[in-house]
């Protein structure tokens, strides 16, 4: 499977994605503007509560091409963060108390300077989260020692596993992904990840493989724990449920399968004002592979830069100005406020 970008698909154009997303409002007005809902909740303009997480997308290259990928990542994507840009991130980090650096991609481990970057962040005494897709660990012998590398730097590993059934996982992430993911999870367990008493944290991310919302996070966690240990001898710490946002390849899937309207209705109907107050962009700064700044990884993939009154590139980093910015919102934001809410850390309420 190719990325939308490589297919020259119309949805590879983020301007077109935004047109699709706002059309429903223009036509039927039955999907009210997200900004209107925020205004009703007294949250407009949406302001940061203080940046505590720096999320760095180190590149769009990935060994997988998942159907729902909001990054449109894949082996054919060549956008990758350079060491010079990583250095700018480190310089910014040094002047702030931000405690957590969340590395994402693509498969972040495919960036040639990935290990160097992790070492530098950890040398600054900050916690590193790696969003690891699991299969990368077994993709090539040069990655086999990743679990030990992670353990050495006390990296928190957050990994996608949309289901404990092979059928549902493979439908979303590709043929054979479930089996390889289980193999990688065993290697992580062997390195101490997810094992009680080691302090090495391994969280799994559940996101629905289809046009429906995630269920109760605690109930799903119980089910995943039972099934994974019983059927595969695998253990982990927490399950984070994440709602699929209607952008990029998930948007393509929704349009192709005829689920677009009903999915958006579901998100809008499930709007939860408590979740609106807790959206992750209020505490996160997202940095793109080229050093540009965004409110979150979703806005990044829609090319929605941070508000122009704040610095828009990491080289001009200014924490105070960024903490004063207005967050850029659009209709895709309904994905963060549906039901129990959704963020890179799972449910928000």
């Amino acid at each position: 499977m190719k990325s939308l970008h490589a297919q020259h698909h119309p949805l590879a154009d983020t301007g077109y994605q935004l047109t699709v997303l706002t059309q429903a409002e223009v036509e039927g007005a039955h999907q009210p503007l997200f900004a209107t809902r925020l205004r009703e909740a007294g949250l407009l303009p949406l302001r940061p509560t203080g940046i505590t997480v720096m999320q760095v997308n180190v590149g769009k290259m990935c060994n997988q091409t998942c159907r729902h990928c909001h990054v449109d990542a894949g082996p054919d994507r060549t956008e990758i963060m350079t060491r010079a840009t990583m250095q700018q991130c480190l310089d910014a980090l040094r002047q702030t108390p931000i405690e957590v650096v969340d590395l994402t991609g693509g498969a972040p481990e495919m960036n040639p300077d990935f290990r160097w970057f992790v070492e530098q962040i950890s040398a600054l005494g900050r916690e590193v989260i790696v969003r690891c897709n699991l299969t990368i660990i077994v993709a090539n012998p040069k990655y086999y020692d990743l679990p030990e590398f992670f353990a050495r730097h006390r990296v928190r590993v957050v990994s996608s596993l949309p289901h404990f059934s092979a059928v549902r996982t493979d439908a979303q992430r590709g043929e054979g992904v479930f089996g390889r993911s289980i193999k990688a999870l065993r290697m992580l367990n062997e390195a101490g990840y997810g094992v009680e008493g080691t302090g090495l944290s391994l969280d799994l991310v559940y996101n629905p493989s289809g046009a429906f919302l995630p269920g109760n996070q605690a109930a799903l966690e119980r089910e995943f724990k039972q099934r994974l240990v019983r059927e595969h001898g695998v253990v982990f710490n927490s399950l984070l449920t994440i709602t699929n946002l209607p952008i990029s390849r998930f948007l393509e899937y929704l349009l192709d399968s005829g689920n677009y309207e009903s999915y958006l209705d579901k998100l809008v109907q499930a709007y939860n004002p408590v979740a609106a107050a807790n959206v992750m962009c209020r505490s996160t700064l997202s940095i793109g592979w080229d050093g540009q700044l965004y409110d979150c990884d979703f806005n990044q993939q829609l090319d929605l830069l941070v508000d122009g009154r704040a610095p828009q590139h990491i080289r001009d980093f200014d924490l105070a100005a960024l903490n004063e910015r207005s967050i850029v919102v659009n209709q895709h934001c309904y994905g963060c406020t549906a039901g129990a809410g959704s963020s890179c850390g799972g449910a928000t309420t």
């Binding site: 289901h163 429906f212 269920g215 109760n216 109930a219 799903l220 089910e223």
Partner: protein, 112 residues
């Protein structure tokens, strides 16, 4: 004009409107309904799968629509959902067949 059919998928979302003509009973029903499906001695997922099976037994297209979505949301997979429907089918089939004992009794009573 919309094509008239006995079942319209859009009507599912209007279920709540039944309170318009009988608010008191409607409200009591929905309160009870909500209570029944909460996590309890059975998990929410188990209850959703039971509802899915019953939906097939009573052959309600609204309920099949609703509880297919709900089962998926609660984390059930295809195998669990199909097994739930087989349970409904087995009970429905069994219920028909077990009455054949009555048929056999009657036939024997009438026969030489």
């Amino acid at each position: 004009m919309e094509k008239a059919t006995y079942y319209n998928p859009a009507d599912l979302a209007k279920f709540g409107n039944i309170t318009e003509w009988q608010p008191e009973m409607g409200r009591k029903f929905f309160d009870y309904y909500g209570e029944v499906f909460k996590d309890g001695a059975l998990t929410e997922r188990e209850k959703s799968l039971i509802a899915l099976a019953v939906a097939h037994a009573v052959q309600c297209p609204y309920c099949i629509d609703a509880y297919t979505t709900d089962s998926l949301q609660k984390g059930a997979d295809e195998a669990q959902m199909m097994e739930a429907v087989h349970v409904a089918a087995a009970i429905k089939g069994g219920a028909a067949l077990v009455h054949s004992v009555q048929m056999m009794n009657k036939a024997k009573e009438l026969s030489m």
